[in-house]
Symmetry: C2
Subunit: 448 residues, 2 copies
């Protein structure tokens, strides 16, 4: 007699392999997508596997095993823990681990010998004194981890310090050949660190600095994409294609890029000079540029709200300031894209200046138009959204100007050369004339 619940259990069991298969398929597709998005991920996995397989020869080759014995374990551990995606992260972790191990080893041994001398080998006083020292050292080091600067750059070093200090000072209580053991460990940790750093740098290295540089440039380009498309999209002057819309929405990733940026800056600081980046390259300037990009992105997010606004403004009202708005938006977009290119190519942002100047002329025109009695016969309520959009666009123009200034600062600090700016400058369009009735504080100032 097969009851109903039983049959449903059977159905469930029959479906189980299918569901499991679907899940596995899903994970596989995700893995494929990850590799397609950034093939360096696949290379990184192979690099780590290579470094670990290499370091495991410590066990297989008799002469190596004879000299290190089970201390070879520390080399394997170091490679596993230190191997990070970028050179900066790997170097940072490796140096943190190496220095912290050395320092903690010396201090741990020192404190053991001090306690041993004071207690004269008394088996009750010695562990109590050692316990007190360990308590104080670990409490202090754990507390220091809360200092933001330490957290950002030396957090891993502090953990390794606590670990090594405890291991060395407590093992010395039992293991009286501690100096030999310590020597072996330090050597294997150094070898492990060296292997992972060498493999990381010599096979298709991923530089955090380069990634940071590209991220800054890409983010500014995304803002530019939005602004280039915004005018036509808002005023409905073009049959905007769907593909354009998805390109415009790219700016959203800029809103939350701060953490990634901060991490990359921390990693980049550990990296030696490489490629186009010289020693002591001004990485921290990228944080300033990132903050200004986000300021601009917040305004763009507000503008984006107007694209999906269902309280449509009549076309005849929009059309009154349509021209300067679209042109200002396009010019600012172009300026941002030029800024992005100038970061990418490491040339001073001179070609962006022209676009900024042009967009400021349109801004002046726009202000003048708003001042005239263009609106006399219209309902102010219907004008509000358009005027808000115009005002936000004016805000974006000034954000872009600030951004250009900070990129100019980067250009000075990093000594960008002017080799390619002429080519970019050829890409300029005619500069419009300022309206004759413009007045007030809106002068056209070309930065620099």
């Amino acid at each position: 007699m097969v009851s109903e619940p039983n049959s449903s259990v059977i159905t469930c069991l029959i479906n189980l392999p299918n569901e499991f298969g679907a899940k596995i398929m899903n994970v596989m597709l995700q893995l494929k997508k990850l590799g397609k998005e950034d093939p360096r991920r696949v290379i990184h996995s192979l690099k780590v596997a290579f470094a670990i397989t290499l370091v495991s020869t410590f066990y297989y080759l008799k002469p190596l095993y004879d000299s290190f014995g089970s201390s070879a374990m520390w080399a394997v551990m170091t490679v596993v823990v230190v191997s990070e995606f970028s050179v900066g992260a790997t170097l940072g972790k490796g140096l943190n681990r190496g220095l912290a191990t050395f320092l903690a080893g010396v201090l741990g041994l020192g404190s053991y010998y001090m306690v041993h001398t004071i207690s004269r080998g008394n088996t009750i006083i010695e562990p109590i004194l050692l316990g007190i020292i360990i308590f104080l050292a670990t409490a202090g080091a754990t507390y220091i981890r809360f200092i933001p600067l330490m957290k950002a750059r030396y957090d891993y070093g502090l953990v390794v310090f606590i670990l090594t200090f405890c291991l060395v000072s407590v093992s010395s209580y039992r293991d009286h050949e501690i100096i030999d053991t310590a020597q072996d460990r330090v050597t294997t940790i150094l070898v492990g660190g060296l292997i992972s750093v060498l493999v990381n740098i010599s096979l298709c290295p991923v530089w955090a600095g380069g990634d940071l540089h590209n991220l800054a440039s890409k983010n500014i380009e995304k803002l530019g994409n939005f602004l280039e498309g915004f005018g036509d999209e808002y005023f409905g002057t073009l049959n905007a294609r769907e593909s354009n819309k998805s390109l415009m929405q790219g700016y959203k990733s800029v809103l939350n890029a701060k953490q990634v940026e901060d991490n990359l800056v921390n990693f980049a600081r550990w990296e030696p000079c490489h490629g186009r980046f010289r020693f002591q390259y001004p990485w921290q300037q990228y944080q300033k540029i990132g903050n200004l990009s986000r300021q601009c992105a917040y305004r763009i997010d507000a503008l984006n709200g107007f694209l999906n606004n269902f309280t449509k403004t009549p076309k005849e009202i929009k059309s009154k300031i349509q021209e300067p708005c679209i042109k200002m938006s396009i010019e600012t977009g172009k300026a941002l894209k030029q800024l992005s290119i100038s970061i990418q190519k490491m040339v001073p942002p001179t070609s962006a200046e022209t676009h900024i100047a042009t967009s400021k002329i349109y801004a002046t025109n726009l202000r003048s138009m708003i001042k005239t009695k263009l609106w006399e016969d219209t309902n102010l309520f219907e004008v509000v959204p358009v005027v808000t959009v115009a005002s936000l666009l004016l805000d974006v123009v000034s954000s872009t100007e600030k951004l250009a200034e900070s990129i100019q600062e980067l250009s000075t600090l990093a000594k960008f050369k002017n080799k390619e700016s002429k080519v970019a400058a050829d890409d300029q369009k005619e500069v419009p004339q300022t309206c004759s009735d413009s007045s007030g504080p809106q002068h056209v100032i070309i930065i620099n």
Copy 2:
């Protein structure tokens, strides 16, 4: 003969202790500030130190050392690495470490015995086969670390898996008592994990869930603080005190809170039910609330730009819509603060609804006022900033409504009880009448 450079070197040497002293003083002050900001940091440091000192008794007490020997090291390592600030982070790391060690140990031993059987102890084939298996396993596990879900929750587990798998499979090649060693290690790791989890939970525990809950509530309160002060500040109706200004600027920390929030959600998911939070509490809803808070904060950042705007709008223009703007801002601020309180006290957000309804009535009034010919004799250009501010405020009102909806959702999911809402509702003010000429789609809808 004392040359000038020498004397400057001497001056420098004399100043060195002073400079060093100043630096030390600076660090000390910073440490004091960190403790004052959050005294749980001091407690955490003492807790970690206590757990480590406790686990180091494995070395001091002869019976314990006799049974574990140098494997005691793994207990110390586990405590150092697993002890995190919050219970969720500690539990997450502990479980990751425990499960990954067990799984990797079993698989590592399994693959060693498989290789040993296949190669029949051949000293050339065996290490080559082992090397291939290690290469494949580590490359796979390293690649899986890139999957966002794995990165967020199981990253540490994957590192420990790689580490243990390599150590077990390679050491088995040399150490033929590997099963005993493995058993000792698993036991000590379990003991270490248990000690750190127990110390973490039993002495003044810091719950990531509680922190997340408070952060969500605090962030919404900060937005409320801005809006409560904004009206008076912008229209200059009060001699705003400096303290009020700094309170208003608190919203800035909301802009970049995403990473902290995401981390806390990940940690909170590891935590068992505690205090007011039941098992399977809807932590992910806090991410939704956080995103909506940030949407609101972006608009507030745009509003903040108008506070420092030097192109002053004449007072007589501002005064035309001053009243509804100030009241709308204050009511929205109050609504946000009520939402914050309803999260804090875990009661349904009914008391905020009244404030939202009131602010929507003011919004309707504001829209009607803008529609009338109030502006006839004014220069539109001077009106623009005021109208933009009004429009942004209207935007903030609708953001707040969405936020209230998502908090209502949280209230349903988390089954908030209505015990205290009556008290909060007493705090309401009179509701204004809607202007008679209001029309269009602006109905007063009270959510829920």
